[in-house]
Amino acid sequence: MTTPFCDLDALAAAIPDDAKLAVPRDSEGVAMSATRALVRRRIRRLHVVCVPTSGIQADVLIGAGCVATIETSAVGLGEYGIAPRFAAALGDGGLRILDGTCPAIHAGLQASQKGLPFMPVRGILGSDLIVRRADWTIIENPFAPHDPVVAVQAIAPDVALFHAPCADHGGNVFIGRSRDHLTMAQASRECLVTVEEIVDGNLLADPERSAGVIPGIYVTRIATARHGAWPLGLPGHYDPDSAALGRYARAAKSAEGFRAWLDEWLAQELAGA
């Protein structure tokens, strides 16, 4: 059996160009240190699936030229406003977008998790979203007449990537209440995780934590990254760094400002910060 444990660069190298990459929303543990390693290795043409939204992570990847397609129900910087590189790339026509709605993204992943070709979802009918989605269609409820339902095709990412509090030496990963991580892991072909620390003992043997654990069978690679979600937060561990997020929002308003921010951010990694 090969070990899943590696460093950040090896983890980033395991995500190929053109990959369909699933990432979580800002509040749940975003692998920002790994994102920095991805930008450093100049990954290209990603299809990013936001589960179900993204913020600074997607904006940085788009600004750095790493993304061909973004599939999302929203990209924004929360209290800090719009995602400037995302908005600019759409205005330039340099980014393909699959605009969705949160439950449809969850449902697409759940279909993949269950090995199903599609999942029915309520709502959406009459929205302009559906007009643009070749992977959504309207079906009739087979059990009741005159009840149209939207069917969304399964979303099967090549890779799921997120940050979590800890893993054990068996490759089991503790996610606590962040249940979407489990869905992402099970729906994706590979699951790459960064953690704050590797802990002794077996997480699955701990009755208080085992319900919040992704079993190692789903986990392909694990790299340790202290404060690996920074400048975002990790639930129960640290809060978002509002000063750093505000600074990003201001800098990224222009292409030049973003480039300067990016150079500084990438240099922090090289310095081992």
Binding site: S27, D92, T101, H106, Q110, P148
Partner: protein, 253 residues
């Protein structure tokens, strides 16, 4: 932050800011609700729901997305949507970069999609929750012709649906910085219910890009009572600070 309007019935002079007026107004709309979920980037609805919970003596159950303290979700992001589909959420708030007279909302952007001139974050859960939550309250503080448009450039979520579409929910009220409206789903029209203190019907009509019904004599949105104002400036401010620290800091007495 806010223009202050005169309150009524207090021994000492009590004035409510426009933010406090909106919080108190929403809390009144939530009276009788058993279960409310507050979405992302919603400090005013969040404060209002905390206030409604306080005034209900704890009967109102509340989840604020982004909060750890005010969340009883254990099944991730899907739980909001699963609860809504089962009728377990009574009220929810949606906004819109554009809102039109048939209560269609646009959270995507303006101009020719997908090369939008102005791009907003995206539709979030609107295209789903607008169908399933019985009392959707449209909340948008900015009430100007660029927001309240004749027809939205992109329909994130439609205000009404054809007969036969499963739709137990939909738009119920709309609250803006100028007034409170009710929405009639069968007639596909807003009716002005009350005008906030310091504003007029004519001012609202001039700021609105669509036609709406108005009573012969419009009521004034009631200012919060001193007790309610005290709660907003004390307990509620402290509670909302966990999720929205910058907003709470601005809610000073």
């Amino acid at each position: 932050m806010a223009r202050r309007v005169a309150g009524a019935g207090a021994r000492r002079s009590v004035t409510a800011s426009s933010t406090e007026l909106l919080i108190a107004t929403i809390a009144r709309l939530l009276e009788g609700c058993r279960s409310v979920v507050i979405g992302n980037r919603s400090p005013i609805p969040g404060s209002a729901a905390l206030l409604a919970r306080e005034l209900s003596g704890g009967a109102l159950r509340l989840t604020i997305l982004g909060s750890r303290r005010f969340s009883d979700f254990t099944n991730g992001g899907v739980e909001t949507f699963d609860r809504a589909a089962q009728g377990r959420i009574d009220a929810f708030f949606l906004g819109g970069g554009q809102i039109d007279g048939e209560a269609n909302i646009n959270l995507v952007g303006t101009g020719e999609y997908p090369r939008t001139e102005v791009r907003w974050p995206g539709s979030y859960g609107s295209a789903y929750l607008y169908f399933l939550v019985p009392k959707v309250i449209l909340f948008r503080e900015e009430h100007t012709p660029r927001v309240m448009v004749r027809k939205v450039d992109f329909v994130s979520a439609p205000g009404t649906s054809a007969p036969g579409v499963h739709r137990p929910g939909g738009p119920w009220k709309m609250l803006t910085g100028l007034g409170l409206f009710a929405f009639d789903r069968s007639r596909k029209r807003f009716t002005l219910e009350s005008v906030h203190p310091g504003h007029t019907v004519d001012e609202i009509a001039a700021a609105t890009g669509f036609d709406f019904d108005r009573p012969a004599r419009a009521a004034t949105t009631p200012a919060p009572e001193p007790r309610v104002l005290g709660l907003i400036r004390g307990k509620i401010r402290d509670e909302i600070a966990e999720t929205y620290p910058r907003f709470a800091a601005a809610l000073t007495a």
